[in-house]
Subunit: 399 residues, 2 copies
């Protein structure tokens, strides 16, 4: 009953003109490319996307190559265009006429100054979907302020919730300010493409990194309103459910997440400490949360008897949600991620390759995603000029 | 030249049958509802979505109401159905026949056991787009293991990157394991809807929270491969760019993010410490990173002269990327988020209202998003039965 694997991809036939740089925009367009969209990255002549200058650098026979750039630009074509040069601008306009989606993440106002603002573009190309990603959005008092991931993480509140209990707040260790804005940008673009089928018209999606941070505060806003206390960092544990955190075993820590009284009793049996499940202090979640320090000490006394790996086998068999606390080296070896083909080796410059993390967007019954390496600056110039250049384009129109 | 505001929404006309609970799935379907999709939430009779039992609770004249549930279920309709009861099952099937998207986040295998697996549903409803969100995905050795946000955050590596420098790793203070899986689910669903226009067929999107965590490790995987060092937590600062972190002023901390030598010179002038910009230790990013402790001490000596708000005015005027480190109370007062209408008061039970964070998906030139409160359990039963119930449906087919 298995249908044959389809080579078609969900976004086959969609062309994206990518005027983005560094992280939020490129992450968005990489996601679109992973699903089969054609992404044409327009870069500044000379240096290109400034992320090409960000470490870590891989040494190849062609010189240093940015691992930072490589990890968010796979599957794209590159052309270097000076948007203030008439001839280059002409190429851009010819590409725009055949583009479904334009994505940019300059500071608000920059596209207008280039004559590429939404009002102008939508009157020329009414089918165009445009998305701008910026720190603070296209409106509001902060619209023209510069922002980096750190700035919006701190302004958006997530830093105030992250860190050791009572200790200093810390930044989330990845650029979730950029990455999550890129995810919302992809959602907005796809919703606009969906609507275009009905209306025949594109639309303009305005994504602000700060808005996105606020939208992802989860229940912290509700907690603050209900109990009036400003939520702070709580380390590794859950603020209101116990035991729900990391606990030390013989050779390291593992997470254990117990969501019910019955599961707590099972955990105690699994730990070889059945009396814990009958202790009146620990019978309810409220009691376990109140006596968490003693409970943690008791649990860790039992956990000292075996290694993390041994405990994971035992606890998983007993249905307890648990797992290792993996560092990056361990993540790269994780058997589940390996089984899901989440790591992909891509050639960098012929002689070197690099492992990148694949797409988590899995369309069941389809051929595996095809990944192509990130482009060298201007790598696809000749092909793109041939395809979109003046003469060729006229021939095409005449055909 | 302003076009009139359109009342139409990007996903107007899309019907989503929502079999999800707690967080990742409901967050996904809320995003779809915010863009105009009709979301029908099918809940267990009796208790409904278990998040209805999660604090914080608002006291209303109708009893305690979960702020947790309320903050991720706005704009949905609710019907309680026992999927093992024949009559209720019949209602579900009638709804399925008119559904575009089915979303669920049970443990893998549960939908198959209910007779609602993808193979079955896609043969009955070939137009259906289905999305499953689970901890580890529908394939691989861990597919049937239970997972919570904490477990996948720890397995996926983000915890190993988050925390004070050299100190204990901590959990990200929001459930990014769930929330980001919900964002990817929305992306996959919208891409599948896009493809359906071309192919006439739905498809099945399999989202694993662990895959999503791996896909969002940003440059950590590249850094590990290039320099061979396992990245660890670095507190609030940037691992390789300085000064890029939080610094103490007279009454609190602010972030300052300097990305170039020229901007560092400007920062020193703005701080009233122009000699800093000429100090040979601090002329290059490498030097500033090497001497970060002394540099921080010097900067904080200057910053003691004024308050955070005073410094923000001065530094923003000088073009330095900077911002406050906001707690949740401060986020709710942020002038930019207020100007962007990111906070919305919604009635909870008539007599009480709650502030929720609105959508960051802004479609320019459209009417503002309309938000409706989260539903009471089974609130829309009568209307839904009338619309999809047996007799009514036959009449409709006959019409």
């Amino acid at each position: 009953m298995q249908r044959p694997l389809s080579q078609d991809r969900p976004l086959s036939g969609v062309t994206v003109l990518d005027l983005t740089h560094v992280l939020s925009g490129p992450f968005c367009t990489m996601i679109l490319a992973d699903m089969g969209a054609r992404v044409i990255k327009v870069e500044r002549p000379g240096e290109g996307d400034e992320a090409r200058g960000f470490g870590p650098f891989m040494q190849t026979s062609q010189g240093a190559s940015s691992g930072y750039f490589f990890s968010v630009n796979r599957g794209k074509e590159s052309i270097a265009l000076d948007l203030k040069n008439e001839q280059d601008r002409d190429i851009l306009e010819r590409m725009l006429a055949q583009t479904d989606v334009l994505v940019e993440n300059f500071k608000p106002g920059a596209m207008d100054r280039l004559g590429l603002g939404w009002e102008t573009l939508s009157s020329q190309y009414p089918q165009l979907v445009m998305c701008s990603v910026s720190g603070f959005g296209q409106t509001g008092p902060y619209r023209s302020l510069p922002a980096y991931d750190l700035v919006v993480q701190a302004m958006g509140g997530i830093i105030s919730l992250t860190g050791p209990e009572g200790g200093p707040p810390v930044r989330v260790g990845t650029s979730v300010g950029d990455l999550c804005a890129g995810l919302y940008a992809a959602i907005g673009i796809l919703a606009a493409l969906h609507e275009r089928v009905r209306t025949g018209r594109g639309s303009y999606v305005d994504i602000a990194m700060l808005d996105v941070q606020a939208a992802m505060l989860e229940n912290a806003v509700a907690r603050y309103q209900v109990d009036g206390k400003v939520p702070g960092p709580v380390g590794l544990r859950h603020p209101t459910v116990s035991p729900f955190g990391a606990f030390r075993a013989k050779d390291g820590a593992l997470t254990i997440a117990v969501g019910s009284d019955a599961m707590f009793e099972q955990l105690c049996r699994s730990l070889g400490w059945p009396e814990g499940g009958r202790d009146p202090r620990y019978c309810t979640n409220a009691g376990r949360t109140e006596h968490l320090a003693e409970l943690t000490a008791e649990m860790e006394r039992q956990l000292q008897a075996a290694t993390v790996d041994e405990w994971l086998v035992r606890l998983r068999a007993d249905g307890i949600p648990c797992g290792p606390v993996n560092d990056i080296a361990q993540v790269l070896r994780d058997p589940q991620l390996r089984a899901r083909d989440m790591f992909v080796d891509l050639p960098v410059e012929g002689d070197r390759s690099m492992t990148v993390v694949g797409t988590p967007l899995r369309f069941v019954g389809r051929a595996a995603p095809e990944y192509r390496p990130a482009p060298r600056l201007d790598q696809h110039r000749d092909a793109l000029i041939a395809e979109f250049g003046a003469n060729n384009n006229e021939e095409r129109s005449a055909a």
